[in-house]
Amino acid sequence: MANDLALMLPEIIVLLTAIAALVAEMLRQPRVAFFVSITGLAVATMLTLPLLGEQATAFSDTFRIDTLSIWAKLILLPATILSLLLVRAELGGSAREGTAYVLIIMITLASLIMAGAGDTMLLVLGILLAGLGSFALVAYPRTDAATEAAMKYFVFASVTAGVMIFGLTYWFGGTGSTLLSELVILEKSPALAAIGFIAVVIGLGYKAALVPFHFWAPDAYEGAPVSIAAYLSVIPKVGAIFALAQVVRDLPVESAWQWIIAAVAVLSMTYGYLAALGQQNVVRLLAYSSVAQAGYFLLGVIAVGSSPLAFESLIVFSAAYAAMNLGAFAIVMQVGRTLEAFKNTGRQFPMIGVAMVVFLISLAGIPPLAGFVGKFLLFGAAMEAGFTWLVVIAIINSVLSLAVYLRIVVPMYQPSENEVITTDTVTIPLVRQVWFAGLLLTVLIGLAAQFLLGSIS
């Protein structure tokens, strides 16, 4: 018991941070709530470091402390800190500022639970907890658009969670246990395994915004404050993807889970970028791009169990994705939500221009940036798993993605007709820090990926 608690210390610290921030908010001290949140998350990150290399489970196998869950903490906790800075810059001073911090920390906790889940019930718990926080955050501005987006999000979540729990009962019936590690028993009843897995893909696919469970994403991101969209597009998504990896680790191959994942990956990548091609709103464009990126993640999931590169690629790409996506959203916060607003920014603010170009070409997977190393490893993992055709489709989509991201790059270097736009591009120090950190990480992960790779294996 004591040992279990020690292994879960980072998660417990995150929980305590959320409670402390809530207390501070109730005392009407949003500043304190903010600093408590940042400090708590930083402490939790520090406390994760000693766990590196640990391979254990806690609370009778229900929670896993392994490479995936430890790296989920090392990536998601700092990413949450960056998101909090963005939220502070956007919502700071509004009436219920502190609640946003509390909700965000709770969602991060939920994502960490998903990423380390060793039991289907923990999986459900993670999804529901993350969902509850997300609806409230999306509805935060209390505008019509935000309320509608939250409502859509909520209905979608209820249905997918219902289907998922229904499907999980098949697994429970087949194995007599809620533990994921018991799934190997289903080797002889592949149909049962497949039904349960499809339900899990629906539940987690909704969280990770995979096609065809992505419909909420563009509306939710557009209705929500930009900083919340930035947060939602990274942390719960990575948590859900890692959860999927935890599930397939024990799933017998006979259930054809690889083919289900492959199909979802193809749909997500292709549909995500095709839909992004037509967007005029940069937030919606990035929303569809994040749908497509989730599809790329699945190339790593598919290789779990058949390629040693699987975990490495998932972790490196998560870190890369967090850095570049948060960075890109930070720039959107600073510049504006429409493509029109991006006109001429590259010439007027060279640093912003360079940063955004770096984020976008990194998202497109062009070397030597973080996105390239991540995708390269993902491709390698999927090829080693025997899914070369999937890599070919991913590669074709990378070309499409360049066309998508160039839609933002091109106006940045076009002269703007109305020079007025530039006046509302106020430089908010917090936002600048975030995209600067993102820029640094995007370049560093690209050039010094060995640092990550070395500590993973």
Partner: protein
Amino acid sequence: MLPIVSLTLFLPLLGAIVIMCHRNAAAEKVHKIGIITSALTLLGAIWMWVRGVADPDMAGKGFAQVEQIDWMPSIGAAYRVGVDGISLPLVLLTALLFLLTLIYSSKVRKQPQAFVVLMLILETAAIGTFTALDAILFYVFFEVSLVSMYFMIAGWGHEDRQRAAQMFFIYTLLGSLPLLLAILGLYLGGETHTFDMRVWIENPPLEGGAAMLALIAMLFTFAVKTPVFPFHTWLPAAHVQAPAAGSVILAGVMLKFGTYGLIRFALQMTPEAFREAGVVVLIFGVVAALYGAFAALAQTDLKRLIAYTSVNHMGYVIVGVAIAALTLDPEIRAIALDGSVLQMVSHGLVTGALFFLVGMLQDRAQTREMDQFGGLLKTVPLLGWSFVLAAFASLGLPGLAHFPAEFQIFLATLREEPWAVIVILGIVITAGLYLKAISQVFLGASNEKWKTMPDLDRRELLTLGPLLFFIIVLGIAPSWVLDVVHQTTIALAF
């Protein structure tokens, strides 16, 4: 030993960083830094040339001046650079062309900082592509060059630059991604998981169907890059819209990525598959050479015309490489490859000079339509005679740079696949089209409009002089380059 390859490679990048640190420097100063940096880079390249490609201890497996540091040991990727007789001449050509381009561009006043920075990054990427001995490193440099060229065309191009730049970027990215696939295949297929290109060359990791698939992926990549008909459609658009400096680099340096990759990757890493597919590649080469010549014949825009002759000249290189793959006789293989490598160098010099000249004409007349000109030889004799010289070189006149290269390619072709010598028709057509161009632009009745056209100034002479000099030198005495190339090509065994 001084790591001269790495120094040469990263010197331009250093120059770019220096310029970025001086954000408010005047345009002249920025250009001066750019020119000094690329001059030093050229010195570095000359130093590499002096050191040569003879490997003292044979540890480099065919490569000399190898320098390496661990980069991503977990997956077997490292920073590895070095040269052999195939890459060294191209490095020298690259360094020379970049220096001349920066001299020529010292008049650029539109965002000079960004321009020079992009140029220098492009120079590092180009030298890196030719010297990389690690597949990931090669791919990184290969792609970085795309990004810089995209911004070069989009930022400093002509009328329709945005569309051309996007087309160039997307098209060539589509082209280069299959290479990534092939690299991954070679990586996973090998016994030891490494990205060391020397290991792949020594022991081709793939065989049979897998090798053929990898070869097809690589051929696609390099066919787009070279470009080979029917994958050439990005080229005229990009060239016409690119600024003169961009065109020179694009044609002079970046097209060689395709043919260099064809030798380094396709020929050396999947030799068996290439031998099987050799005839198909040969046919593509012949078609490209003839198509390029015919398409050039139909152009009225001088820049487009030169762009299409590039398709023609690179077609000869493809023919040479295909012959080298098909033949079993090491002597014929060496002749074919010697010709191909020399052709790449000659093409860089000649087409570089031609694009500079068209740029100079356009600076003066704001048009590139051939029928707008006439009798310019009298008005601007220096410019005119330079063009005539470069054009004669381009059509393969003996005594000028292309002749020894094309002669060797045709010689090897005649000995291995005699039917393919019909490619020689391309020379006849290019001769015709250049004579037509010269007579339209430089001979005949002079157009009143251009009476006051100034002749070449000092900056322009400085740009063209070295190119014309080397065009003649290579034509008369090609052996100083060929000896270096031959050392490597004669030792190739597969």
